[in-house]
Amino acid sequence: MLYGYAGQTLRIDLSSNTIEREPLKPEWVDDYIGGRGFTAKILYDENPPGVDPFDPENRFIIAMGPLSGLFLPASGKTHFATKSPATGGYGDSNMGGHFGVNMKYAGYDVTVIKGRAERPSYIFIDNDTIEIRSAESYWGRTSTDVEEAMKKALGDDFQILTIGEAGENRVNFACISHDFGRQAGRIGIGAVLGSKNIKAIAVRGTKSIQVFDPKGLLKKGKETYAACRKKPGFTGWTPEGTAGITNWCNDVGALPTRNFKTSNCDYADNINGKAILKELKITDKGCFACPIPCGKYGLAKTRLGKVHVEGPEYETLALLGSNCELSDIHAVAHTNYVCDELGIDTCSAGAVVSFALECYEKGYITEQEMGMDVKWGDLESIVHILEMIARRQGIGDVLAQGVRSAAQKIGHDSHKFAIHVKGLEWTGYESRNAPGMMLGYMTADIGAHHSRCWVLGSDVANAVGGTKDATVHDLISQGADFTTIPKADHKNVVPLVLKSQHLRPAFDILGTCRLQYMEIGLETEYYEELYYYATGKRMDFNKDLLKLSEKIWHLNRMFNKREIPDFGRKYDYPPARFTEEPIPNGPNKGHFVNMKAIEEMLDAYYAARGWDTNGIPTKETLERHNLKV
C-alpha cells in the first residue's frame, strides 16, 4: 500500500485513442518522491531522445506530490513537464488552484500524455471514466470563456485546465490556464498541449486517498495551520500579495525597465501593491487549502474597456509594466487580462513585447511589419503586439518564437538586448548588481526563471552592508543615504545559489507551495512530520529531500545535454546587455557584471556542483547520485 499517494499512473495515447492505468511504480516513489521528481525521471526515461517538442511523441506529464490534496497548508500545486519548445531542453512549470487535487482524488498521481488527437479535443476525467471528447466548439475561444463554458456544461465541481489561442498556435511561451486566473506559465507548456490538439482537460475526483495515520495527520495539519498563523510573516503576505515587493525592487535597482535597459523607474508607486488595493481589488483569492491567499481579483478600467482579472502579480507588474514603460495600474492589469485570455505567459510576454518595442525604436522592425506605430508605455501598442503574437500575424509570427529565435531572424545587434538564458525569457529581477541572482538565472535548468533560485535579498545585503562588516550607524556616518548601492562582489555567491537552487524547487517535489516555508518560516520539522503521517515513511528534509533536489539538477542537466546538440557552458551565459552595458541611472548606476566575473562564477559553480569546465556532470558526480544516464 502506497500511503499518501493515489496509487496509479494514467497513460493516454491520443494518436491511438488508448487509455491505460497502471500502478504507480514503487521505484519512482522511493527514489523521486513526487511532483518534480516524477516529471524529471519520467521525461528522461520515456521521451525519445532528440524528439521535436511538437512531435506527437513528446510527452506531456502531470504529476502531484505525496502531500498534494491532503488539506495541509497550500497543498494544491500541480506540476507539469515536457520538452520545452522555448529551450529545446527540460521544461517544467507549476500552478496552484484545485486541478491537481482533483486529479489525485480521481486516482492519478501521474498522467503521461503522448500522441496527437486527430481533431481538437479535450480530455474528460471523472474518476474512472476517461474519454477523449471533441473540443471543436471550444477551439479558438479564450481561456476563461472555455473554462466558464465547460463548467456550465459539465458542472461546477469539475476543475478545468485550458489553453488559449496562443497554445493552439504553438506560441513558444503559451501557458496553461486554470481557476480563472491561475497559470502554469513558463517554457511553452501550453504550446505542447496545443500541438497535441488538446484544448482542455476537465477533471472531477471524488475518491479518497489512503494515508498512513489519519488521526496523526489531522492533528499535525491543524498544528501546522496554527503555527503559520503565529509567524511574524503571516499577516504581511496576504494584503498585497507578490505585488508588495514592487517598490523594494525599484529602491534597490532591480525593477526591469524599458527592456532591461535600466533597473528603476519614477512611477513605481503607480504600479505597486498599494495601487492594486486602491484601484483594482475586489477580493483576495487563494489556492486549495492556502492560509495566506495571495491572489488579488479585481476590475481594471481603461479606454479599451472594463475587465475582471486576477493579478497583476509582481512579475507581471515588472515585465508588462515598467519593462514596457506602462505606468498605469489599470493598463497593466488590462495587459494581464489579455495575456490570460490568449493564454500567454505574462513574464515572457513582457520580455518579448519590450524587445519588439526596442527593435521598432531602432528601426529593426518597420511600421509596416508592426502594423501600427507602436510606442513605449502605450496600452494599445502592447495589446496589438500581444494579439499579433497569439495569432502569429505578421511580425507576431517571428516574436511568437521568443526573443532568442526572434533576434536570430531580426538580426542587427538585437541579440544583445534579447534578454533570456537558454531561450527562456528573464523574469522580473534585473541583476547587473546582483551577481548571485544572475548566476541563479544563468544556471537554472529550464532557463532564466526565478522560482529555481532567488538570492536577490542576499545580494543586496552583501552590497549595502550593515550585516557584519559595518554597522548601519557606521554607514550613516560615512554618508550612506540608502538611495545608492555599492557594487556587489561576485565572489563567494555560489554556496547561497546552490542552497537556493535545492531549496526552492524542493516543494515542487512534495506538491506544496513554497511560500509557507520561504516567506512565513514554517520549520522543516512540519514537512517531515506531515510526510510521515501521510506516507508512513521517515524523510529528513536536509539529508533526503534536498539531496533529491540536487540529484534532479544533475538529471535535468543530462537531459539538456542529450537533447541540445552543442549544450554546455555557452548556454549558461547571460545576455550581452548585462555584461557590456552599465546601468544608466538609479541606485545601481554604472554597475554591470563583466565576462571575467561571469567566467569566474561559472568556474566556481561547476566545481561546486561536480561538473566539468563545460558544465556537464562528471561520471563521479552521476555515480554519487546513483544516476545511470
Binding site: 511574524p232 510573516g233 500579495g241 534597490v252 520561504m518
Partner: protein, 86 residues
C-alpha cells in the same frame, strides 16, 4: 520611555542567517518616545534597504506604516524582508 517589540519575518531572518549574523525572531527595545522606525532599525543594526515593509499591530490586526513614522507609545512592529514575486 516606551517599549517596542520587533518581530522579524522569516524573509528577513534568512538574510541575516545567510550573511553569518543570525538574529532572534523577537527583539525588545526600550527607548525615548519620538523615535522613528528608521532610527529603530539603525539602532538594531538593520539596514533599511533590507526591510521593504513594516507593519504595526493594531487592535484589530496589522497596519502597514512608513519608515519615517514617529513612535510615541508602546508598539509591536513586524519587519518584513524582501519576498520573491509570483
Amino acid at each position: 520611555m516606551i517599549n517596542i517589540k520587533l518581530r522579524l519575518s522569516e524573509s528577513l531572518l534568512s538574510l541575516f542567517r545567510d550573511s553569518g549574523t543570525p538574529r532572534n525572531e523577537i527583539v525588545l527595545c526600550r527607548t525615548e518616545p519620538g523615535i522613528t522606525v528608521q532610527e529603530i532599525l539603525a539602532d538594531q543594526n538593520i539596514n533599511p534597504l533590507l526591510v521593504p515593509m513594516v507593519s504595526v499591530e493594531t487592535g484589530n490586526g496589522h497596519q502597514r506604516i512608513n519608515r519615517d513614522t514617529v513612535l510615541r507609545e508602546d508598539v509591536v512592529l513586524t519587519l518584513y524582508g524582501p519576498l520573491a514575486g509570483g
